[in-house]
């Protein structure tokens, strides 16, 4: 009787060992490898050169005037934005250096000293040189605003950004605002 029990115990120990072994074997994993590129912000570059710009400046205008000839610090005031039905030129270009398509958001902070009454934008493909009117609202009152343009830029491609500012009725004022170009995975 004792021998039978010992035999049974032996068999069960063997079975348990096999189960554990199978479990260990089953937990082995095959190695797979994959990698994804980092997401990169949309770069704001000059009209021609792929140089990141730091500032956009709207030249002085009369109170309540519309200023449509802003320029960036790379192309300078000698080569400002130009609105035309056949040969328009943007103030800056947006370049998508990320690995995938990005949807563009535009944000501005409130214009200091109440210098602006409103600001508008156009965001088009760079081959479109027929921009004579800039009328998509970025800020309707010169205050901080955030706009989902719904414009998508495929990877490595560019879009042309046009800006237009309507000055407030205040005279002799200078103000600043920051423009932000945000990308989002569509």
């Amino acid at each position: 009787m004792e021998k039978k029990i010992l035999f049974l115990v032996g068999v069960l120990v063997l079975a348990a060992t096999l189960i554990v072994s199978v479990t260990v074997l089953a937990s082995n994993e095959a190695t797979q490898s994959a990698s994804s590129a980092k997401a990169t912000t949309v770069t704001v570059v000059g009209k021609v050169a792929d140089t990141a710009i730091a500032t956009i400046t709207f030249p002085e205008g009369a109170p309540s005037a519309t200023v449509s000839v802003p320029y960036n610090d790379v192309d300078t005031s000698s080569d400002p934005q130009s609105l035309d039905t056949t040969a328009s030129e943007p103030v800056v270009r947006l370049k998508n250096t990320s690995a995938g398509t990005l949807k563009v958001w535009l944000e501005i902070t409130t214009w200091a000293n109440g210098v602006a009454a409103s600001e508008d934008y156009e965001l088009v493909v760079t081959t479109d040189t027929t921009v004579a009117v800039v009328d998509n609202v970025l800020s309707s009152n010169g205050n901080a605003a955030s706009v989902d343009t719904t414009v998508q830029i495929p990877t490595t491609e560019y879009r042309a950004l046009y800006l237009e500012l309507v000055l407030s009725s205040l005279a002799g004022k200078t103000g600043t605002s920051t423009l932000t170009v945000l990308g989002e995975t569509p």
Partner: protein
Amino acid sequence: MYCKSTILFALLLGLLFIPGSTALATAVDRNSLCNLEGYPGKTISAEITLEGTDPEERAGFWYTYYKEVEGDDDRMDITSWITIEPKDYTIKQEEIKAFTVKVKIPGDARQGLWGATSEEAAKEGHSAERRTYIVFKDAITGGNVYSGLLIPVSVKVLASPNPLAPVINFVKQNIMTIALSIVIIVLLVALLVKRRKQVGKG
């Protein structure tokens, strides 16, 4: 003729060594922080890194953003749950900086998804389902033109955990081994008892 060909060849060769003027901005290693899981009252931590790729130093900061959509309920804006440390940064080319995103789930948060309308929000083509974001943006130091990225955040608030859950999981995963071990122990105990009885009789 030979001289002209040599000069032309040298010029073409020289073009190969002119560095491309590719302006870049700042890269991030995660483009979403969706479906984070946590319990009410707990804090979820996630690390996110930025890499400078612009030849010029850039200065920027992190903030949270809620994309308000008409008809949203109180689950969509979780910006008050989120902190990012450090908030401000400067970054140079090839520099990598790490940031910690902490999401503190309120103790009274109800179970379910917060910060997005669907668990698919992180996927491409689902931007309309995102509501809460963390955003980083930076500009060339002294500049007034920033660029950045919107990174959606959503949290799956779980029901309070069962303290016995780890034990139950262990038993489920090792049920056969445990059953056999119990049988072996019972048999050995029976054998031991029988031996003792025999020794007692002897």
